[in-house]
Amino acid sequence: MADQELDASGLNCPLPILRAKKTLNGMEADQVLHIIATDPGSVKDFEAFCKQTGNELLESKEEGGKFHFEIKKV
């Protein structure tokens, strides 16, 4: 499962992406980061983030009113 979890609830653009980038910097390749966010814009933001940086977006779903993302560091 996820190696690390980042709770970005209550944070708006661009904080979820910036926090995720910072956390990923401190992780090893192939590790998975689980991100929780409430910003609806974060869905598209993380898609673009992974596309641009080459990190793999394993999962993107909405659960319990929050958005959950699983990103694998490449």
Partner: protein, 159 residues
Amino acid sequence: MEEKKLAIIATKGTLDWGYPPFILASTAAALGYETEIFFTFYGLQLLKKDLDLKVSPLGNPGMPMPMGMDKWFPTLGLALPGMEGMMTSMMKKTMASKGVASLEELRELSQEAEVKLIACQMTVDLFEMDTADFIDGVEYAGAARFFEFAGESDICLYI
């Protein structure tokens, strides 16, 4: 994949104009862009150690205001003493309650993400500013130096 370059020229020093350069720069850096911001004229206010930026309702048509004020409040009334201060604190409160980062935080994140901050030496001299008032990590240079980077940039924005 070659790194893309983003060049931003920041010329304004109010709260509402201060956000776009730092949000765009920090996001671009997070996406892997090489980013440089050139601060000139009032943009230099964004580099002060103690940020005390205001937002003025005057000259900002289209600015959303509470109680629908933007629809009925006379423009002349916006010039009354205290209006600017009130609008500024209201905007800051709204931003905080909606989880929007403070300018200081965005600026710090930008520097952490290795966004280069360049201050226009000419403007510093023009307004006789004291560089001790500015944050660390700023390069002082002229337009020609900035064009070195801007000329190669994929995106160049004037804010």
